[in-house]
């Protein structure tokens, strides 16, 4: 996107920049604003601005900084005044007025934007408009939001911020948790124009070419015979991180054994180790569901237990109906009684 010369593309790994566990609206906008400000500086456009625009830019940067990092200021607070009731006012009843609101019946489809988010709209808009006047559209990629595993946590963090970004005509790409595709999370995915699911790669016999090419690119053919490479591919379930971790672990075992190449036993041990890591922390209900899937091939994605198994990659989805227990986990699961 950046290379086409018509876009400013910002990559933001949110979890590395802010504490998402507090579930604060505005955190994404603050990160976005800071990156945008930096991008404008790097673009050299600032040098061509009029003196008025330079002033506006300065003010926008200050507002943004305050929004992102907060501010401390002195404010005037009037002393509290207290009126004694007159002595001859017999009907006086102590008390004070409170504000009462009766909610209307016609609720807006989306809650109104928080006031502080509206406040940041103007400085963000200034940056975006300045870039657009030089033929540059803004695209932002938010990484790390998939770690907010449950759909409600994800939505709490993103919904207000993404709405404002949409109003500002900023294209947003976000890594979302798998849970937005299933059950209670499904309505969330409908708020996005498009949802792309990055599924595990195929591990069926004859279909491991992509996985093997990843290993080959990393020099695995020096240590792994074709058969061992296939075993690593199969044990990974098509999950790239597991693929690389298994190949590395098997190689380490061969090294510790003093072997010149990776033997079947090294791959087996590496797969077992990975399977044990997946097995640890599973509840009895989850284990029951896994055994059911392994035995019958049926998997109800609307259940909360099963959604968790998918999100934590203990169950892998190869197609809309093709679910399988992660092969490394299946290897260490005890058969049902």
């Amino acid at each position: 996107l950046q290379e086409n010369g018509k876009t400013v593309c910002l990559y933001i790994d949110v979890s590395a920049e802010t504490d998402l566990s507090g579930l604060n609206s505005g955190a994404l906008l603050a990160s976005f604003g800071l990156h945008l400000s930096r991008a404008l500086k790097d673009s050299g456009i600032e040098n061509a601005l009029t003196p008025n625009d330079v002033e506006s830019l300065k003010s926008a940067r200050t507002q943004l900084k305050h929004f992102a990092y907060g501010k401390t200021e002195q404010v005037w607070v009037a002393d509290e005044e207290f009126d004694e009731p007159p002595d001859d006012y017999d009907d006086y009843e102590p008390g004070h007025f409170v504000t009462q609101t009766t909610p209307g019946k016609l609720k807006p489809p989306f809650p109104t934007l928080h006031r502080e988010l509206e406040d940041i709209r103007s400085p963000l808009s200034f940056f975006i408009t300045t870039l657009r006047s030089h033929g540059l559209d803004t695209v932002v990629v938010f990484d790390g939001l998939d770690r907010l595993i449950t759909p409600d946590r994800f939505w709490t963090v993103v919904h207000q911020d993404f709405r404002l970004l949409r109003k500002l005509n900023v294209a947003v790409l976000a890594a979302a948790p798998l849970s937005v595709l299933y059950g209670a999370g499904r309505p969330i995915s409908e708020h996005f124009d498009r949802v792309h699911h990055i599924a595990a790669l195929q591990i069926s016999p004859g279909k491991t070419m992509k996985l093997r090419s990843v290993l080959t690119q990393r020099g695995a053919h020096d240590l792994l015979q074709k058969t061992e490479m296939d075993r690593v591919c199969k044990g990974s379930g098509g999950v790239l991180r597991d693929l690389i971790s298994l190949a590395r672990d098997a190689g380490e075992m061969a090294y510790l054994d003093g072997s010149d190449d990776v033997k079947p036993t090294h791959v087996r041990t590496a797969v077992t180790q990975l399977g044990q890591a997946y097995l640890r922390g599973l509840s009895t209900d989850q284990q029951k569901e896994l055994r059911r899937l392994a035995k019958t091939g049926t998997f109800d994605i609307s259940s909360q237990t099963n959604a968790e198994l998918l999100v934590t990659r203990r169950v892998l989805e190869y197609s809309a109906t093709g679910f399988r227990v992660h092969p490394a986990l299946q290897q260490v699961m005890k058969p049902s009684k």
């Binding site: 597991d242 890591a277 640890r280 990659r313």
Partner: protein, 197 residues
């Protein structure tokens, strides 16, 4: 005992060594529950003897995330053993999991965990678990899983190979005249004299 592969500190050290100093690697060492078992400091000393470089030990107990991050970042490239996760709740693990990207550093991180803490990590921190992969190793109560017989056998091999007796190796090490080969370090660790390395 654990279902995970049991590894002596020497092998864990060699794994860390071959992964390199910028491997962005995380692993778990599952500590023994026995009261006399080795602690993270003992384990760090063994690793130092194997890796020939300092190994830092830091407690995560009661620390906010920002503080843990600071311990990981300064410095970012040494081998760091993090312990003190026993009081971690599901919420604490979830918070750590969400911020996995913020915890990434070039140097190796060893999480020193009890079996219960490992279970909680696996249940509540799937991203962190995926990062660790199968690099979970169990230590025996003495911090060494080689049986007495295996240990004696390995010492006999070393004695035959170098045509030296163990007592002579101790003498050479005491006099700081021991050759720098890693096998001599292993030898000293095997006889419980890692202090001479």
């Amino acid at each position: 005992m654990s279902d995970f592969s049991t590894q002596p500190p020497f092998d864990i050290g060699r794994r860390i060594e071959i992964r390199g100093s910028d491997a962005y690697s995380w692993l778990v060492v599952l500590r023994s529950q026995a009261p006399e078992s080795a602690g993270p400091e003992d384990f760090a000393h063994e690793l130092e003897a194997i890796l020939f470089k300092p190994v830092r030990v830091a407690s995560a107990q009661g620390l906010p995330l920002g503080e843990i991050r600071r311990r990981l970042e300064f410095p970012p490239d040494d081998v760091l053993i993090l312990w003190g996760f026993e009081s971690y709740t599901a919420h604490d693990w979830e918070a750590l999991d969400i911020h996995r990207a913020a915890l990434i550093r070039p140097g190796t991180v060893v999480l020193w965990l009890s079996p219960v803490a490992l279970r909680d990590l696996c249940a509540n921190a799937p991203n962190l678990r995926s990062f660790i992969g199968g690099s979970i190793f169990a230590l025996s109560p003495t911090g060494d899983v080689m049986s007495g017989e295996e240990r004696s056998e390995r010492i006999r091999e070393l004695e035959a190979h170098y045509d030296l007796k163990t007592a002579e190796v101790v003498e050479l090490a005491t006099a700081r005249k021991l050759p720098p080969e890693p096998e001599f370090v292993e030898w000293l660790v095997l006889i419980g004299r890692g202090d001479l390395v």
